[in-house]
């Protein structure tokens, strides 16, 4: 965790230069690195170079060109590289609802009080940090799953449903002894000691039972 903390960055996306300057000062006072963008388009262009680090984007709802909600939609379609905090001087209920359903951390009304801003940023960074670590873990599990043979993966799919060795043998039309052998290799490759642990890993990696 501490490894990411130094890299934690706040992106400020607002069309108003003086708002950008003022907020970046405040955020820096809060101890975060800041990068600012004058428009959603600029941010999307820079996105691939930003890398995977804990990040929170402060996005103005109302901007020329792409608006805040549209930017959120685009970011969500990709593996989200940051959590999102919206700002607006003129937020309608509809916009707020849409933003929150789109997974925004919160919705700040301009002018923004420093405590609220920093709290939202802290929450956003924390959220993203958790998401990042979760996704790192899932990737590790997926890597382990990839080492399984087809048969072992089939066996695992049945194991996590709670099926007995005999039932699995019937389904796969193999000997029960063979199932046992696959099973022990699965437990070994996945690095788990119990079925319960295996189920949790598969869940985290999004691996589903075989159809």
């Amino acid at each position: 965790m501490t490894r990411h903390d130094t890299e934690a960055t706040v992106f400020i996306i607002d069309d108003d230069a003086s708002v950008r300057r003022s907020l970046s000062r405040l955020v820096r006072e809060g101890g975060h690195a800041v990068e600012t963008f004058g428009s959603a388009e600029d941010f999307l262009t820079a996105l691939p170079t930003l890398g995977a680090r804990p990040a929170c984007a402060l996005i103005d709802l109302q901007m020329p060109g792409l608006g805040g909600l549209e930017l959120q939609e685009i970011l969500m379609a990709r593996a989200c590289p940051c959590s999102i905090v919206f700002m607006s001087g003129n937020g309608s209920i509809e916009a707020t609802v849409q933003a929150m359903r789109g997974g925004a951390i919160t919705f700040l009304t301009k002018p923004i009080h420093d405590e609220d801003l920093l709290a939202a940023i802290a929450e956003g960074l924390d959220h993203h940090r958790r998401r990042l670590s979760a996704s790192l873990q899932a990737e590790d599990i997926r890597r382990r799953i990839a080492t399984l043979s087809d048969r072992e993966r089939e066996t695992m799919a049945w194991v996590i449903t709670g099926a007995l060795n005999k039932q699995i043998a019937d389904r796969l039309d193999i000997a029960e002894r063979t199932v046992k052998a696959h099973r022990s290799r699965v437990m070994e490759k996945m690095g788990v000691a119990s079925v319960a642990e295996l189920v949790r890993l598969c869940d985290a990696a999004g691996f589903s039972e075989a159809v």
């Binding site: 300057r21 003022s22 820096r28 109302q62 901007m63 020329p64 003129n90 301009k110 923004i112 420093d114």
Partner: protein, 650 residues
């Protein structure tokens, strides 16, 4: 001395016809002479009326000579009376010719001068040759019976050979009159032809008769007394008859004039009109009877322009004076609306509208300034009320527009406030640090100052939109700047509507007379309409684009506001500016925006129109405002004079 005819001579008891006829003729001539003399006294320019009495009096004198001749006993006195007669003749004939000359104005001058010259020569000969023009000497005087009386006539006498000179003069006279008459006749016209025939014809005819009679008598062929006065008397009657028609017409005109004056006076008092004349040379102003009331001035005997101006409202005095001077010096016509101070200081200020004209003399100098003024106070008050209501309506429209824009305006205002708050809080945190960076703190404060100013200007701009503007608030404005300010005010709205506005200012700042806020209102209205236009088309996803182009076209400054919507169907182009006409019924357009905008632009002396549709292009609205002339600083097409003056005081 008494001849054979004396038997039928005069008896004391019988009526003396000669005396009666001659006296009657002479009396008639005297009366006619006096009459025309009186006419001439009233009108010095009427030369015929001056010459006519000379002729008439001359004929009386001729008649007197003839009477004396008829009763004369000795050849010597006969000779001298005829000599005197020729002298009188030498006056009467040129006078007649001059009369015709002045009346007809068609005679040839050289012919006139020749005739008068010959006649004068004849008079000279009359005195120089001894005896008179007819006779060198008269030997005997004879008595003949004439009109039942015994009268003297020339008996034996020696003819003067110079009598030919008189005949030549007479011929020349006739030629002159005949020629002048003919030319008058050719001019056409009822009066001309009648005069040519009646006066000219008669004169020629009677000259002829006179010549013939005199010739016959002096040649001894006709044994009758000299009767020269009679043809002339006939001529005088003919002239007098013609001249009397003139008098009749004058009398008729006088009656018509009186009627028309009465009508005018009636119209004047009914319509509260004041007729006036200002004699420039004497600086004396005449005002019609009911006019004093209209002007609100107590009637005085003599009113000069200075005294009149004292009654004019002091706010209007200077420019009215300038307008009057300009009328007199250059234009020759005059129109103004101004205020008068009520008589006695009480009551309300009254508005007068005046129109007039300058009369100039032959030398082109202004001599008379006359015109009519009307009390337009009620109209002015109604106008002021209408203007007030218009301004109220415009204010309402503005406030309602701003209401619709409140979200965007809040955003617009929140941006600097956000920056200020963020900066202030960052600064405060910085101060909490052990070693505050003073440079950074200075920058923070600078930013706060700048953003506060920005917020202030937004508030100022919004506040102006809530203020009333009145007719007196027309000022010189730079149209480029007004468009820029308008766009700044609705910037957030444009962003919120995902629209784009492209502004092309004119290279030179175009200046017009307008109300700043009202012009902004018109532009904001047109831009918002333009942004809405796309939603009424068949491409709802398209980005609304509005173009504003300001162009200086010399006399006019033109602002074109175009959009990329579906355009305006030709069928509704005429209705667009009618109140309550809206194509935005679905979204609650009141349909007052364009109607109010047009009213506002017209108040600046300009026009607002929708340009004819171009297939495939959006709508274009054009504001045209009269440009202020850079050199003189005045409008090419100035607003009416009233706008120079402040609002009516009610």
């Amino acid at each position: 001395m008494v001849d054979a005819a004396s038997g039928r001579g005069h008896d004391a008891g019988r009526m003396n016809w000669i005396t009666v006829i001659w006296s009657a003729s002479m009396g008639a001539c005297l009366i006619l002479a006096l009459m025309h003399l009186l006419v001439w006294c009233r009108d010095y320019r009427s030369l015929p009326n001056l010459v006519f009495p000379v002729i008439a009096l001359g004929i009386i004198a001729l008649g007197a000579c003839e009477l004396a001749l008829m009763q004369c006993g000795s050849p010597e006195s006969f000779l001298s009376i005829i000599r005197l007669g020729h002298l009188i003749f030498g006056i009467v004939v040129p006078a007649s010719l001059l009369f015709i000359h002045f009346l007809f104005e068609t005679g040839r001058l050289w012919l006139l001068l020749t005739a008068i010259g010959l006649r004068t020569a004849a008079v000279v000969v009359n005195y120089a040759a001894g005896g008179n023009l007819h006779f060198l000497s008269i030997e005997t005087v004879e008595q003949v019976s004439f009109l039942g009386e015994t009268v003297s006539i020339v008996g034996e006498a020696v003819q003067n050979p110079w009598v030919r000179l008189g005949q030549a003069a007479a011929l020349c006279q006739m030629l002159y009159v005949a020629d002048a008459s003919l030319r008058l006749w050719r001019r056409g016209g009822t009066i001309n032809r009648r005069r040519a025939l009646w006066i000219g014809g008669n004169t020629v005819l009677l000259f002829l008769v006179g010549m013939a009679v005199t010739g016959l008598i002096s040649a001894g062929l006709l044994r009758a007394p000299m009767l020269v006065s009679f043809p002339f008397f006939g001529m005088v009657l003919a002239i007098s008859y013609e001249m009397s028609r003139e008098l009749q017409r004058t009398a008729r005109l006088a009656v018509a004039l009186e009627t028309s004056e009465r009508r005018l006076s009636l119209a004047g008092s009914a319509g509260r009109l004041a007729f006036w004349e200002w004699d420039l040379a004497r600086d004396s102003i005449w005002i019609s009877e009911d006019g004093w009331e209209v002007f609100g001035i107590a009637p005085t005997g003599k009113l000069g322009i200075q005294a009149f101006m004292e009654h004019v409202h002091e706010g209007d005095r200077d420019w009215l004076g300038a307008v009057v001077r300009e009328s007199i010096d250059t234009t020759g016509t005059y129109a103004a609306e101004f205020r008068m101070i009520p008589a006695g200081g009480g009551g309300t200020v009254r508005w007068l509208a005046a129109a007039g004209r300058i009369d100039r003399n032959a030398a082109g100098e202004p001599v008379l300034f006359r015109g009519v003024s009307i009390d337009v106070t009620a109209k002015k008050e109604a106008e002021a009320e209408a203007a007030r209501q218009r301004s109220e309506l415009a204010l309402l429209a503005r406030v309602s527009t701003l209401g619709a824009l409140s979200g965007s305006l809040a955003h617009e205002l929140n941006q600097p406030l956000t920056a200020i708050l963020g900066n202030a809080q960052a600064g405060r945190r910085r101060l909490g640090a052990p070693q505050p960076d003073l440079t950074e703190l200075g920058e923070i404060l600078d930013d706060i100052v700048a953003d506060t100013k920005r917020a202030g200007s937004i508030v100022h701009g919004m506040r102006a939109m809530f203020l009333r503007e009145t007719a007196a608030d027309l000022v010189t404005v730079d149209v480029n700047a007004v468009v820029r300010d308008s766009l700044a005010l609705i910037n957030s709205e444009i962003v919120a509507r995902k629209g784009g506005v492209e502004f092309t200012p004119s290279p030179q700042p175009p200046r017009v007379m307008a109300g700043v806020v009202e012009l902004q209102q018109v532009i904001i209205n047109l831009v918002l309409n333009g942004l809405d236009a796309i939603s009424q088309g068949d491409q709802p996803g398209k980005t609304p684009r509005v173009g504003i182009r300001v162009a200086d076209q010399g006399d006019w400054v033109v602002v074109d506001v175009s959009d990329n919507g579906p355009g305006i169907p030709e069928t509704i182009r005429g209705q667009l500016f009618e109140p309550f006409f809206s194509t935005k019924s679905a979204r609650g357009g009141l349909g007052l925006g364009l109607s109010i905008s047009r009213g506002l632009v017209e108040r600046f002396g300009g026009t607002l129109e929708a340009l004819p549709a171009v297939p495939g292009a959006g709508a274009v609205f054009r504001i045209s405002l009269p440009a202020i002339d850079r050199k003189s600083g005045t409008c090419q097409t100035p607003p009416t004079k009233t706008t120079l003056a402040p609002k009516a005081e009610t």
